[in-house]
Amino acid sequence: MSLDAARERPSGSFFYNPRVRGLFWQAVLILVVGFLGYEAVVNAATNMRARGIPTDFAFWDRVASFDINLTLISYSATSTYGRAFMVGLLNTLLVAAIGVVLATVLGFFLGIARLSKNFVVAKLSSFYVEIMRNTPLLLQLLFIYNAVLKPLPNPRDSISFGAGFYLNNRGLVMPDPQFAPGAGFILAAGVAGIVASVFYRIYAKRRQAQTGEILPVGRVSAALILLPPVIVYLLLGQPISFEMPILRGFNFVGGLRVLPEFVALVLGLSLYTAAFIAEIVRAGILAVSHGQTEAAQSLGLSRSQTLKLVIIPQAQRVIIPPLTNQFLALTKNSSLAVFIGYPDLVQVFAGTVLNQTGAAVQVIAITMAVYLVISLITAVIMNLYNRRMALVER
């Protein structure tokens, strides 16, 4: 705009030329930011050297010599700090991934329940949403951690669910599947089942468009996905065995164990985020014109069909952008793990590693960069999905 104005007044004073002024202020800004940045860097270098703080990344390959109690990849005290970083990163991603799924499922359920005509269901879900949204996540986490942890019995008095499942204050212990050779075929059969169910779905849709006949998609896909692995499993002579947990000494030996810190963190993050997702879903559904519901009802669709076929597909467009923000918030909030002792990226890397190496600047810069990259990747994926959804619009 201002550029147009400039062209109309070419003879004006040089100093009052908006373009000149724009350039001038930008130059000032760049100089100021550059100066501050330069000062910060020089000061940091000076201060760090004066205080003997390491300034390189040599620590990355040194032996960590501390242990971590949840490792998705092989790690021991003789591994390097770099390896410890990977362990922490994977633990963060694990919590974030499971948390996102749980929060989405629960959030959709709550959001729809809030709009239910049923007084009790609607009121209770809005009660839940208000409580969760208006108290700090950290408080909820501490509450869950101390409430999940404390009432549970010690390993010797574990609550047994049968079939090798035990619950105690060291977490949930369950049988660990052991894969014998040939187990890969079961996976392959499962994948084949999924592919087959996708094709069946396409076929059913086409069939419906042509003849009006509605094929039972849900049941058939379930059978297609579940049956092949089971059949292959039986045919191959049951190549998967389970290592049962046994109580020996202090703890259960063998089996898989889910840490209470993990449970508390996943539960806390998903219960909290679900309340926000519920609000997003509710707003999204309300954004779909009421005429759509009425039209669907007059076509004879049931309430659940109306939701599934008419409302949610349209609401998705409104829901997805804020939903992305919630997913990112959940991932970032997983850093609260540090308060309850779950070994995530911040706890392991920006905690123990920083402390043992003293390389504060490098460690924090890397940690921030990791979260930035995670945010970026999530944003890109969700934007792609969003674009696909938006294309439906005419």
Partner: protein, 426 residues
């Protein structure tokens, strides 16, 4: 591909049965379907099952007064409110010297009255609402912060503070002082006065109270207020920068906003705590309390900027063009035309950000700041009071505190939303 068309008419459904009265209500609201019906029943069963236990735990079996934790450790007793009662001063003021608590009370009272006046929407006010505002808010904060114990301890001083608060509220309300002036007092005069009161100054005859003694609810409110107050102007500038036509300005604004929004608050705090002292010359190193506050304010500004940008985008371009046609400069356009409209639009969103910022203040504990939650955690490990019911009790207390504040703010935001929509509803 020939598309299927239904040729025969679908069977007509029976008309919906509408039963009135109690049975009809029950049918609509409880036994309303195959999913929600059982769900409602399950919820009711849950409430019936849990409520008596909760009532027993929190009220009937609760220990209200005790000198130490022995009474709370007895098997089968409920919530240990005596613990909260005993530690209340610590929760409110941290280690701030007891004799100087009144200074904190005064600062909180002034801040509440001023900000309440700013947030109180103009326009028609009922007499009841007016009285509720003039007396209710000071009284509420008064009971919330210094509490009845302080009134008993030092009745004249505390009641004087309360009376001062009510008098100030009345003065602000009836003097028809323009909101702009109140804003100036709140944003310029009040912080200076507050800082001198809290830190102490020989000029005012107040002893110096070092920031490492500050703590508790008062510190949580302080961190939140500074963050919020700073974030608004900074957020507006950043939002304007992001929509600027000058590429350098836009670039730096986007860089800053996206960077801060992309990292967890905890890492910002770590950075403020360990890296900020490295970035400044040796003897400029900020106070240990100031660092997380600076981090918090910088963090808050980025989120505020995005909210304000939403408002800016919603203003039709014609507004800007019209203003330009009148010969207004950029800053005049923004100040007189665009920002007033844009900010009004996003008031609910801004309040929502306030809520989330207030909740985020709990994280400053990670860098050793003694906020409310950390004061609670510190008090919780007192061996004299240790017992199985102490943690649930004190966490419930904290949850109630945060809930009252956040829920109040969210209700306020809904009220504003309705008022704002009233103008657009034709």
């Amino acid at each position: 591909m020939s598309l299927y068309l239904r040729r025969d008419e679908a069977p007509t459904m029976p008309p919906p049965v509408r039963a009135g009265g109690a049975i009809g209500w029950l049918k609509d609201n409880i036994f309303s379907g195959w999913v929600s019906g059982p769900l409602a029943l399950a919820f009711i069963a849950l409430i019936v099952w849990v409520t008596p236990d909760l009532v027993r735990f929190f009220i009937l079996d609760a220990i209200w007064t005790a000198d130490d934790g022995a009474a709370c450790r007895v098997q089968g007793t409920g919530a240990c409110w005596a613990f909260v009662d005993r530690k209340l001063d610590f929760f409110r003021y941290g280690s701030y010297p007891v004799a100087e608590h009144w200074r904190v009370d005064v600062v909180i009272m002034l801040g509440t009255v001023l900000s309440a006046r700013l947030l109180w929407p103009d326009g028609k006010k009922s007499t009841f609402g007016l009285f509720a505002f003039l007396i209710g808010i000071p009284l509420f904060i008064f009971l919330m912060i210094p509490g009845p114990a302080a009134i008993i301890r030092e009745p004249s001083l505390e009641l004087a503070i309360l009376a001062g608060g009510i008098a100030l509220a009345c003065a602000l309300e009836f003097s028809k002082l323009r909101t702009l002036w109140v804003g100036l007092i709140f944003f310029v005069l009040y912080p200076v006065l507050g800082a001198y009161l809290l830190k102490g100054s020989p000029l005012l005859g107040l002893i110096h109270v070092d920031t490492n003694l500050w703590g508790g609810i008062f510190l949580s409110l302080l961190v939140a207020t500074i963050g919020i107050v700073f974030s608004l102007p900074a957020g507006i500038l950043l939002a304007l920068g992001r929509r600027s036509e000058l590429p350098a300005v836009r670039f730096f604004s986007i860089l800053y906003i996206e960077f801060v929004r992309g990292v967890p608050f905890i890492t910002v705090l770590f950075m403020a705590n360990t890296m900020l002292p490295l970035f400044v010359p040796d003897n400029w190193s900020p106070d240990r309390l100031m660092r997380p506050i600076v981090g918090f304010a910088l963090f808050a500004a980025a989120y505020m900027a995005e909210e304000v940008r939403g408002g800016l985008q919603a203003i039709p371009k014609g507004q800007s063009e019209g203003a330009m046609a009148l010969g207004l400069s950029y800053w005049q356009r923004m100040r007189l035309i665009i920002l007033p409209q844009a900010l009004t639009l996003v008031i609910p969103g801004i309040v929502n950000i306030f809520i989330s910022l207030f909740k985020d203040t709990t994280l400053v504990a990670i860098v050793g700041i003694f906020d409310f939650l950390r004061a609670i955690d510190a008090a919780r490990i007192d061996p004299v009071w240790s017992g199985p019911t102490v943690s649930p009790t004190v966490y419930t207390f904290a949850a109630a505190f945060y809930f009252i504040f956040c829920f109040g703010m969210s209700r306020y935001s809904q009220m504003m939303e309705e008022r704002l929509n009233a103008g657009r509803r034709r």
